[in-house]
């Protein structure tokens, strides 16, 4: 079987908006969402800019209907997943096979942090309710149960490429005829654990991040959730829906260079992009836009850029990193940027790479710095690379 996967609907919550429309408007109006910490309570790193979703847990709970006591990642996930299903016109009564394949990197760590404060001093202390959703899979199930999806439920966790991998797990299952619909994407809330973890790596920019700039100083962390409802042709008929786009290519490769650092030649990035293009049957000239992984770290941008330099030397497509808007949303970033990539196709718009002043001297290409409208965009390549060398690329094409 070889069934194409169509994008039937999307939903997103990020630092630049709590729904699809607001995210699009912010992208078009060059409105970034990174700033002072408000919900995250880090005692020592208050000065670090972060891309928070501008809603408290209580507000997220009120909007979604989930309990405010569940991990923030579940709340964000539920918010974006619900919007996706509404956007696609999918209802619980739909009898076709629906799977939920989500991604996150630290599960219910925000609650576990509370638990550990007491537990680390006395193992009989700490509220068990705070660790019951520690597992990544538990966060997914909170949302699956809420949405009433039980045919297939899974969670992927490959650091910063997690949700790119969940997206193509869904595409693969539809292609193989195992599912009619796959709600795919990922979520991650900011936690002290990740903030302090990235801080030890000394790759957090103390100012607003500047991806692909010669003077880039690192990344800003963000949070969010985004999903796509992938559908088979049969599924689309049931939804009475014209597809927005389809997934034509996807590939996953490993850099196999270092636990955290990317190889200077960008081997993993190159293989992921090349693999996705091969899978889609596309050549470099067919790619109209690249949504870069572009974190703003020295290491990522040089590795990713080097791979692009080789792969597209016959002519560079337009490209930009949208992380200067949202921050790096880790387990959600692959999905957040997949949604942005589809918006690009849908509206013929290319979003700018904010705050880029001095292009990197190593490369002759230059990311887009102004909003471009009325673009004819057929194929978009979206990159997500992570710790552990896990590199994934997706290609979305106009349906």
């Amino acid at each position: 079987m070889n069934v194409p996967s169509f994008v039937a609907g999307m939903g997103i919550v990020s630092a630049i908006g709590s729904d699809l429309r607001t995210n699009l408007d912010s992208l078009c109006e060059k409105r970034a969402g990174i700033g002072t910490m408000h919900w995250l309570s880090s005692a020592r790193h208050r000065a670090l800019p972060v891309g928070e979703v501008k809603l408290s847990n209580a507000e997220l709970a009120a909007i979604t209907g989930l309990s405010a006591r569940v991990p923030r990642t579940a709340l964000l996930s539920c918010m974006a997943a619900k919007e996706t299903l509404i956007n696609a016109g999918w209802e619980k009564e739909n009898t076709l096979r629906t799977g939920f394949i989500s991604a996150n990197t630290v599960g219910g760590m925000d609650k576990t942090e509370n638990f550990f404060k007491l537990f680390s001093k006395n193992t009989a202390a700490g509220k068990l309710a705070d660790v019951v959703h520690h597992e990544c899979g538990s966060v997914t199930e909170l949302v699956a149960d809420f949405l009433g999806i039980q045919h297939f439920v899974s969670t992927v966790s490959t650091a910063c490429s997690s949700s790119a991998n969940s997206i193509f797990t869904g595409a693969r299952m539809i292609r193989a005829g195992m599912l009619d619909y796959a709600l795919v994407g990922g979520a991650d809330a900011l936690t002290k654990f990740t903030l302090n973890g990235f801080n030890t790596l000394m790759i957090l920019d103390k100012e607003l991040c500047k991806p692909f700039d010669e003077n880039r100083q690192g990344l800003n962390l963000g949070e969010g959730a985004a999903y796509l409802l992938l559908s088979s042709e049969k599924g689309l008929k049931q939804l009475h829906k014209n597809p927005v786009a389809c997934i034509t290519g996807y590939a996953n490769a490993n850099d196999a260079f270092h636990q955290t650092a990317s190889s200077p030649e960008g081997t993993g990035s190159f293989l992921a992009m090349k693999g996705a293009m091969d899978k889609a049957g596309l050549q470099a000239k067919d790619i109209d836009y690249i949504n870069l992984h572009g974190t703003g770290t020295q290491n990522n941008d040089i590795a990713e850029g080097t791979a692009i330099n080789i792969l597209f030397d016959s002519g560079f497509p337009k490209m930009s990193s949208t992380k200067a808007y949202t921050g790096h949303t880790l387990g959600a970033s692959g999905a957040v940027e997949a949604v942005f990539s589809v918006l690009t196709i849908q509206h013929g718009i290319i979003f700018p790479n904010l705050r880029l002043e001095t292009p990197m001297k190593e490369f002759s290409f230059r990311p887009v710095t102004e909003l471009l409208r009325n673009q004819r965009i057929q194929n978009v390549l979206s990159n997500s690379f992570g710790f552990g060398g896990n590199c994934s690329s997706l290609i979305f094409s106009a349906a």
Binding site: T200, L201, M202, H258, Q259, T260, A261
Partner: protein, 90 residues
């Protein structure tokens, strides 16, 4: 100064869990990274924390790492130059 270097060797081995090495195996001028002892960028970050915890010296710019952590001698020099107040005991 020699005391500091010896102490550093012990601390580096312990911090980086270099179980196969004894302090005597590390030459004062032997490069700690790639071609020498074989440390990598994660070790560099660990050494930054070591300086902070043991010597109260903050290396805020990771790019200074390669220079400071080139060898046991460069580390000792950096510590001496940056911490008049720290008493190095044997």
């Amino acid at each position: 100064m020699d005391n500091l270097k010896e102490k550093l060797k012990v601390q580096v081995i312990e911090r980086l869990n270099l179980k196969d090495l004894k302090p005597g195996d590390i030459g004062d001028d032997q490069p700690l990274f790639v071609e020498g002892i074989g440390l990598d960028s994660i070790d560099a970050l660990e050494l930054i924390v070591l300086l902070q915890q043991e010597y109260n010296i903050k290396l805020s710019n990771a790019e200074d790492g390669p220079r400071v952590f080139h060898s046991i001698r460069t580390m000792a020099d950096y510590i001496t130059a940056n911490s008049g107040a720290v008493k190095v005991s044997t």
